[in-house]
Symmetry: C2
Subunit: 190 residues, 2 copies
């Protein structure tokens, strides 16, 4: 999606440790007009898949997922990151490793919000190592619902997450796929 | 807003400790069609106030704020809850007391996302003791921006937050105001 690539080139900042800062339009500050264009594109890609529910993860995925949910006219559910150690029986949960904080945590969704008749589109802002997306896939599988695919804003294609998820047979569509990035040489797309 | 009151009566569950569970349509699962009606109402109330930015707090406020941001055609910023102890100099921060977890935490917004020419509408899902809203107000004040007001989905009017904030001269508009609620007697609106 050229609009997304252009915006990344204009406002994204590459920091050390493979971090891409896009907080001015995608994360802590959200450009809703851009989100509408992203939602249009997700609708073009997945609009004929009979999606009944959109699943994302707090916090940065929620805005994109809600605007996308408008197009699909379906509810949006977000997984919570559970920082306490105990997970109750009335939730689907999945263990996720955070490379940023180098620790594991659980993500949880109450069982009542996903069921076997659901066709789920997963939406998230970033795909890098794929740990969060893998966790969301685990939750959908545990619920018995069908995974239609994953719509991602920015994929760091030089990290292994995208390949790993696609090898599981899951359709992953990313609006911008970064081939390489560095503080000195800038950003190159696939 | 009758639609909101009806929905609370139909799906809300009152739990002990003054907790109202509305996770099926307002929090962890989000009814985007309802959010659109809420956004229409916020637009009716604040549409002539020259809003340039919407501010909310992660995570449950983000969805409502983004759909509202569509109506106002302005960016949406969310404050992050900072769990680490140090706050850097390039953010506006405010100390918030959580009654749920009985501890203090900081909420933060990077300075680049709020400036003196902004006219800010604060959006959040709940108003009870007013600690989160007060924190958001503190951040807007620190930035030098103008606070247009606060749009709240559900106000627990039997708790002191709403009165406290209105006494500061800040316009607070809540789509549903709960006068009383209990497990045995149900929910009564103002």
């Amino acid at each position: 999606m050229k609009l997304m690539e252009d915006r990344i080139l204009r406002e994204g900042r590459v920091l050390s440790g493979n971090i891409l800062k896009v907080g001015s339009f995608l994360n802590q500050q959200m450009d809703i007009e851009l989100f509408e264009k992203m939602a249009d594109e997700f609708w073009r890609l997945f609009g004929d898949c009979g999606v009944t529910k959109i699943l994302t993860i707090e916090a940065s995925g929620i805005g994109i997922a809600c605007i996308t949910g408008q197009r699909f006219k379906c509810p949006v559910v977000f997984a919570k990151k559970n920082r306490s150690s105990n997970v109750s029986g009335d939730v689907f949960s999945s263990r996720v490793h955070s490379y940023t904080h180098n620790k594991d945590y659980d993500i949880i969704v109450p069982k009542e919000y996903l069921n076997t008749s659901d066709r789920v589109l997963i939406i998230d802002d970033f795909l890098a190592n794929g740990t969060a997306l893998n966790g969301l896939i685990g939750i959908v599988r545990a619920s018995g619902a069908c995974i239609v695919g994953a719509g991602i804003a920015i994929e760091k294609a030089f990290q292994p997450g995208g390949d790993m998820i696609r090898k599981q047979g899951i359709r992953v569509e990313s609006l911008a796929r970064i081939k390489s990035m560095s503080e000195s040489d800038g950003i190159e797309f696939c």
